[in-house]
């Protein structure tokens, strides 16, 4: 029996993802032909032997509820433990809109108290990575840290004026934390993945919210580092890391993951990423189709040309159509003779016959869910 429980926080700010998050939280943004972003932290937890997982929901969570269901696909539908959905609710102290992660955790104290595990791992839901949390907790025990935080040296996740960075000493101790700097002084980007004992977390939640502190990193951790009131250690994420924090980042990440080597780093063979299943037949490639360097889900019918693309389930590419450097989500259709380049087509979108839709590598066109062009 694992002595670790997991919390996935899905309340991140998502305005920079524009229409991609108009109908869903970042956690349930479709990615890489058959996954949702939350599949990555969730699968990492499951493969780390974590059996009790709470998912804190904030807004637009209908699609996430549909995706997670009873947790069956992750074998989290057991009686003794499993997946617990924690939707926002209003109480006498709160209207159900969280100020930050600590506030969200505060609303869910009863759940935290009801669990039995000694340790808790908390993670964000907007990053793609594959981590062994058992290994992280092992290091946490060895160093005797109060809180261990995960970081990466991956330069791809650094953003000017955005992000949380930390200074890590050779022995692993975290000595400084900076939040949203224009120029980051430290190369270690925090993933907002933490582990500590459940008991400590409960007391920290109580202490902070009673003092009007709602942000975990920005307020609680930074204060703890500054006044040296807690021992903070860093744990380096062993896989590559991608942050899905804007449309451009989403697009760039998707294109980079067409490279088999990049893909291998977050899809280790012995720790597959698990997701909700849909029973689709294999994809049909018609005579006259040309396909190159593309990641394709089942249920598609391809009659045209597809280069450097990611096609989700049940996508149709018509005769004579050409689509390059693009992402087409579930049930998308590119009609015959249409031309599409550098475009993200959300679910159930249609490009009409002979239409041309051309974006740029640093500014992909985004077609919102359900639209016909």
């Amino acid at each position: 029996m694992s002595d670790i429980m997991g919390i996935i926080y899905t309340g991140e700010m998502d305005t920079r993802l524009r229409e991609l998050t108009a109908v869903r939280a970042i956690a349930s943004v479709p990615i890489l032909a058959r996954y949702r972003v939350i599949d990555f932290p969730l699968s990492s937890m499951v493969h780390s032997g974590i059996r009790d997982i709470g998912v804190i929901m904030q807004r637009n969570y209908r699609s996430m509820l549909d995706h997670l269901g009873s947790g069956k696909e992750w074998d989290l539908h057991g009686k003794r433990n499993g997946l617990t959905i924690l939707p926002p609710f209003s109480t006498k102290d709160s209207v159900g809109v969280y100020e930050g992660m600590l506030d969200a955790l505060h609303s869910n104290l009863p759940y935290l108290r009801s669990c039995k595990e000694k340790y808790v791992v908390i993670t964000n839901s907007f990053m793609l990575y594959n981590a062994d949390f058992e290994d992280m907790v092992e290091q946490h025990e060895k160093t005797g840290a109060d809180i261990t935080l995960m970081y990466t040296k991956d330069p791809g996740v650094r953003r000017s004026g955005q992000g949380k960075y930390c200074e890590v000493q050779p022995d692993g101790q975290v000595t400084q934390i900076e939040v949203d700097p224009i120029t980051n002084r430290f190369d270690n980007t925090m993933l907002e993945v933490f582990c500590m004992t459940r008991e400590l977390l409960i007391s920290l939640i109580d202490l902070s919210t009673s003092r009007g502190q709602y942000h975990f990193t920005r307020q609680l951790l930074r204060n703890a580092v500054n006044d040296k009131s807690m021992k903070l250690y860093g744990y380096e994420c062993k896989s590559r890391v991608w942050a899905i924090d804007s449309v451009e980042a989403y697009y760039k990440c998707s294109m980079e993951l067409l490279d088999p080597e990049n893909r291998a780093s977050i899809f280790p063979e012995d720790r597959p990423v698990l997701t909700k299943l849909r029973d689709e037949m294999p994809t049909r490639y018609a005579p006259g189709s040309h396909v190159s360097n593309s990641l394709i889900a089942d249920g598609c019918v391809i009659e045209g040309t597809v280069e450097n693309c990611i096609l989700f389930r049940s996508v149709r590419i018509g005769k004579g159509a050409v689509i390059r450097n693009s992402i087409v989500m579930q049930d998308g259709r590119v009609s015959p003779m249409a031309e599409v380049d550098h475009t993200i087509m959300d679910k159930q979108t249609i490009i009409r016959e002979s239409t041309r839709l051309i974006g740029a590598a640093n500014y992909p066109v985004l077609v919102s869910k359900g639209l016909t062009v």
Binding site: L32, A33, R34, K72, E73, P260, R263, F267, P272, V273, L274, T275, L277, D279, E280, M281, P282, T283, R284, Y285, A286, P287, G288, S289, V291, S292, N293, S294, L295, I296, A297, D298, G299, V306, I310
Partner: protein
Amino acid sequence: MLRKKRCVAMLLAGGQGSRLGILTSHMAKPAVPYGGKYRIIDFPLSNCANSGIDVVGVLTQYRPLELNSYFGSGAPWDLDVTSGGVFVLPPYQTGSSGTWYKGTANAIYQNIAFIAQYNPDYVLILSGDHIYKMDYAAMLKHHIRTGADATIAVRQVPWEEASRFGIMNTDDEDTIIEFEEKPKNPKSNNASMGVYIFSWDKLRKYLEEDEANPNSSNDFGKNIIPSMLADRCKLTAYTFSGYWKDVGTISSLWEANMDILEDRPEIDLHDKSWRIYARNEGYLPQYIEQGAELSRCLITEGCRIAGTVTHSICSTGVTVEKGAQIIDSVLMPGVHVKSGARVVRSIIAENAVIGEDARVGEPDGDIAVVGIGVTVEPGTAVAAGVQYEPNHGG
């Protein structure tokens, strides 16, 4: 006490399926892969799920372990219900006796206790070696409406082939008046599909009588149906007209796979109102590399394709390296075809490896088969019609 069920399905998964040769040397016939991501048994099971039947007993006496682990909780077919599910029923010993299943009727007879738990009104009998989509609920309605004791699904076959089937001769109202097993001079072309619905009380009575008869071969077609006809029970034919393909031989299995490569296949697996469910292993999406050439093929999850695939099926987790060529073939799950190899008119069984520059099959002639987990050494050839399994029987 289990909840009463209106209809319980019993699926005769049969024996070793010797006509499928080395494809069934390690697994029961219903577990043989088909169509890229299915197994033969997914068709009757999905038909049950789509028809609202949620108790399915699977009768097998050959390698029940593989079938059991394939079914798991029954969740892939929505059969993980508290009041039902999918059950593998191998023969077992009771206090004083216990025998292998002597015939199809005996297999059901030995499981009367299983069926009786659900106290059903009707029992649906299925076989596990056909590819078809059929609404058993519509057939049950027909059974109830005609007030039959037994309803037998029939399908019109070409007259010249009728003598290979069990033929039902009916009157104008679809009442069966005569049953002929493989008649030399068929009087009708209504062939039995091996799909029966019985009213449970009648079936139980005839199973018990049949068991008491030492001269019976305990078979539905040879014994149960003829005795019911002799006793003037009401037997009705239910005509089914959709796609129905026997996959009991190497060549028919190959043909059934080729059938779904047509532009408009007779069996629509895209049909969202009648999905065919399968156990899904959670592989990565398929990755088509630069330089791959694909034409008229079906490719599924977990595949990595860099070579040429023409008029073929690549099942889950198949790798086709650069310069390899696949033509008119079926690659079953986990097959790896190395660079420069050429596979023509072949079935390559699960996890087989075709070495560099090897040749399997020929453009004309019978289907070549490479056995489960077998390696074809680089540069060697497997001729048309050969079933290649070097250590078979060892």
